[in-house]
């Protein structure tokens, strides 16, 4: 089946929307998991170093299961490793938010908090979707991401309602990253196509729940929700910021230098 391109002239036709949809879910977690792994050995305190590495492991594990599922859906013999290590930047479908650099600890916590809130609510919707394997992975991942959200929310409170310095830094991080959140809630032809296959997510309702959840924590943290503004986008279609290429170079170099190696 060939689905014709539906938007701009640079769109390529999407042959398999379900594959594409699951890849988006997998890539969000792979890229964010890799970002968090960059903190390993650099955390501000030992407990936090361990926490960020633990969360990274969860996310990379979720990504492995999702990309393995995507590979089976595609049916061309690609497994999770070939999808993670042998695709180029333009073939990655993660949201721009998760590829942003770690910055300082406040930047990392804000990025994590914004993603965790989105992920928990999305997975909660997907755990009852009409695709049994995806629903099972969503239910499993939801348990983990609920932990992650509690962790990042508690840091939002401590940093926002902490010292003048921590407050200023985390507010700046929130202001800078806010423009990457719009992309998470804009449905496109892929979402429409998988809805017909039983994976129906009400993006407007998801965004409303997310905004409530985020606003609640931000307010309690004595921070200010950024104003409505133009949103960045493109990650879901493979148009990334300059940061993803650097991340992939580091993540993929060993696998590409020694294809098929195992240890």
């Amino acid at each position: 089946m060939t689905t014709p391109a539906v938007a701009g002239p640079r769109e390529t036709p999407v042959a398999n929307p379900l594959f594409e949809y699951v890849v988006r879910l997998g890539d969000d977690r792979l890229v964010l998991g890799h970002r968090l792994s960059e903190w390993c050995g650099h955390g501000p305190i030992l407990e936090e170093d361990i926490a960020l590495s633990n969360i990274a492991l969860d996310l990379v594990g979720q990504a492995a299961a999702l990309l393995a599922l995507a590979g089976r859906i595609e049916g061309k013999g690609r497994d999770e490793d070939s999808l993670a290590y042998f695709r180029d930047e333009r073939d990655f479908r993660n949201a721009l938010l998760v590829e942003q650099p770690n910055g300082d600890f406040g930047d990392t916590i804000v990025r994590q908090f914004l993603f965790d809130a989105y992920s928990v609510l999305l997975l909660d919707a997907l755990k009852t979707c009409g695709h049994a394997e995806l629903a099972a992975l969503a239910a499993k991942s939801l348990k983990e991401d609920t932990y992650h959200l509690r962790h990042s929310s508690q840091w939002m409170l401590r940093l926002g309602d902490g010292t003048a310095e921590s407050h200023a830094r985390v507010q700046r991080a929130l202001d800078e990253q806010w423009r990457f959140t719009g992309e998470l809630f804009v449905p496109d032809a892929i979402d429409d196509a998988v809805a017909a296959q039983g994976i129906r997510v009400d993006h407007a309702a998801l965004q409303a729940r997310w905004t409530d959840l985020v606003a609640d924590v931000v307010t309690r943290a004595t921070l200010t929700l950024p104003p409505a503004q133009p949103m960045a986008g493109g990650g879901r279609r493979g148009r990334h910021s300059e940061h993803l290429g650097h991340l992939l170079a580091e993540m993929q170099i060993v696998a590409r230098s020694h294809p098929g190696a195992s240890w």
């Binding site: 407990e47 633990n54 594990g61 099972a136 239910a139 924590v217």
Partner: protein
């Protein structure tokens, strides 16, 4: 034992000797990751479910299970991974929880069902596995492995691990 005449219970008994490498007082069966065992003519097929998605011990446990069964004469050992129902620490039986406590790891309380937990709620105190005191505090929800949290006992002044309710 003759693998050709082995049944499901024999396989489970062998798997009961394969320990979680990171929590060496729990077998893979007690941990709850072995969901089903089917014994065929030539070998055995084991259905497993991961504890945490990224738990690196899963690969080691599969390798150790295979080695233990091959030592007992099974020619083929295959694994199927399932994700539903999602693993929960509630599957660890009471006597295994007691083994955890004696090993110095606070056993998991019953897992909370679904939903987000209020941000400012004080987490329930976890009894110290060494002295039994409830005068403890949680230092971090993330510990030396995915399944553990770090606590500190104010009574006996010892840090300790908790196997997280999950």
């Amino acid at each position: 034992m003759n693998a050709a005449r082995a049944n499901r219970d024999d396989v489970l008994r062998i798997l009961g000797t394969v320990m979680d490498p990171e929590v060496p007082v729990l077998s893979v069966v007690e941990l709850g990751i072995v969901r089903d065992v089917v014994v065929g003519d030539r070998g055995v097929r084991i259905t497993v479910t991961p504890t945490y998605s990224g738990c690196p011990a899963m690969h080691t446990m599969e390798r150790d299970m295979r080695a233990a069964l091959m030592e007992h004469g099974f020619a083929e050992v295959e694994f199927d991974t399932v994700y539903a129902p999602a693993w929960t620490s509630d599957w660890i039986p009471a006597e295994a929880k007691e083994k955890l406590r004696r090993f110095g790891i606070a056993p998991p309380a019953p897992a909370e069902q679904g939903g987000l937990i209020a941000l400012t709620r004080r987490p329930p105190a976890v009894a110290c596995p060494y002295c039994g005191s409830a005068n403890t505090e949680r230092r971090s929800e993330f510990g030396s492995t995915a399944c553990k949290a770090i606590h500190f006992c104010n009574a006996c002044q010892q840090p300790f691990d908790e196997f997280k309710p999950f």
